[in-house]
C-alpha cells in the first residue's frame, strides 16, 4: 500500500486521467476490457518516460492512448460496430430524479445521434466536450491541423444541432 510519504509522482496523474482515458479508449477500441489494457499500457509508457511538463501531459497521454487503441483495433482487424445497444447506458450525476431523467435522455439521444456522424467528427467532439481539450491539444493528438479540427467540430456541432430534438436553454 502506498503511503503519502511514498506517493509516486504518477499517482495523481492516474487519479486524474485514468477514467477519462478509459472512456476515450473505449470509444475507439469498443470494450472496456481492451480500453483498460490500452490505458495501462499508456501509463506504463508514461512511467518509463518519466514526468512530463503539465501542459504536455494531457496531449501526450491522449496521443499515446489513441495510438495504442488504433493499433490494437487494426491489429485485431476488428471494426467495432457501435450501435444503440452497444452504446453505454447513460448514467446520472444529477441529484434530482427529474434532472437525472433529463440527463439520461440527453446522453441517450446524444449517443444515438453521434452514430450518424463520421468517425473523425465523433472523435473531435469527444475530445472537446468529454475530455475538455483545446483545439490545439486535439490537433496534437489527432495529428490534424487546428483549422481542420475547428472545421470538424463546427460541422459536427451543426449537424447535431439540426438533429437535436430537445429545446436548448440559450443564454447569452
Amino acid at each position: 500500500m502506498t503511503t503519502p510519504s511514498t506517493l509516486s509522482w504518477i499517482e495523481p496523474i492516474l487519479e486524474r486521467f485514468e477514467r477519462p482515458l478509459i472512456q476515450y479508449a473505449t470509444s475507439i477500441a469498443g470494450t472496456e476490457d481492451r480500453a483498460r489494457d490500452i490505458v495501462q499500457d499508456t501509463f506504463l509508457r508514461l512511467a518509463q518516460q518519466g514526468p512530463l511538463e503539465p501542459e504536455r501531459l494531457a496531449p501526450w497521454l491522449y496521443t499515446v492512448c489513441r495510438n495504442r487503441a488504433i493499433d490494437l483495433k487494426r491489429k485485431e482487424n476488428r471494426i467495432v460496430a457501435m450501435n444503440e445497444d452497444s452504446h453505454p447506458e447513460p448514467a446520472s450525476s444529477e441529484p434530482s430524479p427529474a434532472a437525472r431523467l433529463e440527463a439520461k435522455e440527453q446522453a441517450d439521444c446524444l449517443g444515438r445521434l453521434l452514430l450518424r456522424l463520421p468517425e473523425n467528427q465523433r472523435e473531435v467532439l469527444r475530445l472537446r466536450f468529454q475530455c475538455d481539450l483545446s483545439y490545439r491539444e486535439i490537433s496534437e493528438i489527432t495529428q490534424l491541423g487546428e483549422g481542420n479540427v475547428g472545421f470538424l467540430l463546427h460541422t459536427g456541432i451543426k449537424t447535431l444541432r439540426q438533429l437535436w430534438p430537445h429545446p436548448l436553454e440559450v443564454r447569452p
Partner: protein, 479 residues
C-alpha cells in the same frame, strides 16, 4: 463572415483570442443574427459537455494493472509487456541463450543444412568469382574481407556464412532484382524462413558451394599491396561473419528479426555448432554489444555514399558518434538512390549509433525536412529493419500521410513480393495496385516519424548487430 463560419464556432467555444476574437466580436455587435447563432452554439456546447459527462463513469484500472504502473514508475523497466504474454519472455530467453551459444562458436564450421534455394548470399553481378562469398557453412578468413584491386574496401557484408536454415522453409530476404532495378522488398513466405539477400536476376545459379573462399595467401598478398586498407579490417571485421538464421519457430514471428545477428538459433544449428569444437578455437567474435559499439568500417559504406557524404575512402573507420556519422546518415536517407544496399548501410549506421542515438538522429533529420515524403518513406523502411517485433506479429508499416511505405505483405505475411512494375501497372479501373493500397489506407490516421519510432520502440526490439550488405546492381536501384 456568415453563420456557417467555423470561426463563429471557435469563438462560441472560447477558442479565439487576440485580433481574431476582436474581429468576431465586432462582427457580432453589428449582426444580431450572428450573435444569436453564437449563443445557440455555445448553449449546445454546454449541453454536449453535460451529455458526455453524463455517460457512466468508466471503471478504473484493475488493481494489478495499477500496481504494475506504480512499480514501473518507481523502478522503471526497460520493456513494456503489451499484452502480457509469458511465452514471449521464455522465447526471448531461449533465443538469448542460443545467441550466447552461437557467439561462442562463431567460427565453428557449420555443416550445410539448408536446402539449395535457401540462404544464399551473393552479389554475383559484375563480380569475378573471387568476389563471391560462400554462405554455405564456410568460415571465411579474416583476410578475405580485405579489399580487392578495385581499391574499394570490400563491404564486410559480403561475408555471410555459417548459414543454417530451417529445412524446407522459404527464405526471407532483401531482394534486389536487377530485372526491375527499383525492386526492393522483404519477403517471407513461410512461418519459419531462413533469411537471405538474393539477387534474383542473376543468370547463374547461386550455387555457392562451387565457390571457394578466397585463399588466405592470395588475400594476404593482395592486402600486403594495400597496407592502408588492411588497417581497415580490425578485429571486429574478423568476426563479421554473419549467419543467416531462422527465427525461433513461429513464436517470435518476424523471421527477419534475427537477421544478421550471427546466430543460428534453431536446434539444428546448435547441434552443428556443438559438433565442431575444433573450429571454435578461432578468434572469438565480438559480443553483440561490442559489435554494436564498433565504429562503422569504411568497408561497410559504399563508395558512392562515402563520396556523397564527403568521407574519405580508405581513411579508416567512420566513427559512429562523430559528425561524419550524422552526415552519413543524412546522405544515405536523402541521397538520390535508395537500394537495398543503401538501406542496409543505413540500418548498420543506426545499429552502430545505438537505439537512443538512432532515434535522436532520425527524429532530428526528419524534423529538418517535414515536407520530405521520400525521406519519411526511407526512414520507415529503416525502422522496419532496425526493429524486430516483440511478438508474433510483424511491426506494422508507418502511416505517414495516410500512405504506406510498404504493404504489409512485403515484409512478413505471405508469399507475395511486390514488384514495382506490377504494382504500378494500372488495372482496368485505371488504378495501380499502389494507388488502390493508398486509397484503402486513406483514412488511416497519420502519424509523425517520432510517433512511428515510439511505436517501433514499444513493439519491437532494436537490432544489435548489423545486417549484411547486398551489392547493388550496376545501375543502382533507385527508389
Amino acid at each position: 463572415m456568415n453563420s456557417d463560419d467555423p470561426k463563429l464556432t471557435a469563438y462560441a467555444l472560447g477558442e479565439l483570442s487576440g485580433p481574431e476574437r476582436d474581429a468576431v466580436e465586432q462582427r457580432l455587435r453589428d449582426d444580431p443574427n450572428l450573435r444569436a447563432e453564437v449563443d445557440e452554439t455555445a448553449a449546445f456546447g454546454r449541453m454536449l459537455t453535460g451529455a458526455f459527462h453524463a455517460e457512466p463513469a468508466p471503471a478504473t484500472l484493475a488493481p494489478a494493472q495499477r500496481a504494475e504502473v506504480l512499480e514501473e514508475a518507481r523502478h522503471g523497466r526497460k520493456t513494456i509487456p503489451f499484452p502480457h504474454r509469458p511465452w514471449v519472455v521464455w522465447t526471448l530467453r531461449i533465443a538469448a541463450a542460443l545467441v550466447a551459444l552461437a557467439a561462442l562458436g562463431r567460427f565453428v564450421h557449420v555443416p550445410a543444412a539448408r536446402p539449395p534455394h535457401v540462404a544464399t548470399v551473393s552479389q554475383m553481378e559484375g563480380a569475378d568469382p573471387e568476389d563471391r562469398f560462400v554462405a554455405k557453412g564456410e568460415a571465411l578468413p579474416a583476410d578475405s574481407l580485405l579489399a580487392k584491386n578495385s581499391g574499394e574496401t570490400r563491404p564486410n557484408a559480403d561475408v555471410v556464412g555459417g548459414s543454417v536454415a530451417a529445412p524446407a522453409k522459404e527464405p526471407l530476404g532483401l531482394d534486389q532484382s536487377a530485372a526491375s532495378s527499383d525492386f526492393l522488398s522483404l519477403t517471407n513466405s513461410q512461418t519459419t524462413p531462413a533469411l537471405a539477400f538474393r539477387n534474383t536476376n542473376n543468370a547463374s545459379p547461386l550455387d555457392l558451394t562451387a565457390q571457394k573462399p578466397r585463399a588466405e595467401g592470395a588475400d594476404a598478398a593482395g592486402a600486403a599491396d594495400r597496407p592502408a586498407e588492411r588497417l581497415e579490417a580490425p578485429a571486429a571485421t574478423a568476426g563479421a561473419r554473419y549467419s543467416l538464421e531462422t527465427k525461433v519457430q513461429s513464436q517470435i514471428g518476424f523471421a527477419g528479426q534475427n537477421f544478421g545477428n550471427g546466430t543460428p538459433i534453431d536446434a539444428r544449428a546448435a547441434a552443428a555448432l556443438a559438433e565442431a569444437p575444433a573450429r571454435s578455437a578461432a578468434p572469438a567474435a565480438p559480443s553483440a554489444p561490442a559489435a554494436a559499439s564498433q565504429p562503422l568500417l569504411a568497408g561497410q559504406v559504399s563508395l558512392k555514399n562515402k563520396q556523397a557524404a564527403g568521407l574519405s575512402r580508405g581513411g579508416g573507420a567512420i566513427t559512429a558518434n562523430g559528425d561524419g556519422a550524422a552526415l552519413f546518415g543524412a546522405v544515405l536517407l536523402q541521397g538520390p538512390s535508395f537500394s537495398g544496399k543503401e538501406l542496409a548501410e543505413a540500418v548498420n549506421h543506426y545499429v552502430a549509433l545505438g537505439e537512443e542515438g538512432a532515434i535522436r538522429e532520425l527524429t532530428e533529420l526528419t524534423a529538418k525536412a517535414p515536407g520530405d515524403r521520400r525521406l519519411r518513406e526511407r526512414v520507415g523502411l529503416v525502422c522496419r529493419v532496425l526493429y524486430t517485433p516483440r511478438d508474433a506479429q510483424a511491426l506494422r508499416p508507418p502511416r505517414f500521410g495516410g500512405e504506406r511505405v510498404l504493404r504489409d505483405g512485403n515484409t512478413y505475411t505471405g508469399t507475395k513480393t511486390v514488384q514495382p512494375a506490377k504494382e504500378l501497372k494500372a488495372d482496368k479501373d485505371g488504378k495501380s495496385a499502389a494507388e488502390r493500397e493508398v486509397s484503402k489506407d486513406a483514412e488511416a490516421p497519420e502519424e509523425s516519424v517520432a510517433d512511428y519510432l515510439a511505436f517501433c520502440r514499444a513493439h519491437g526490439v532494436f537490432r544489435s548487430l548489423p545486417v549484411p550488405l547486398p551489392k547493388a546492381s550496376p545501375e543502382g536501384t533507385p527508389r
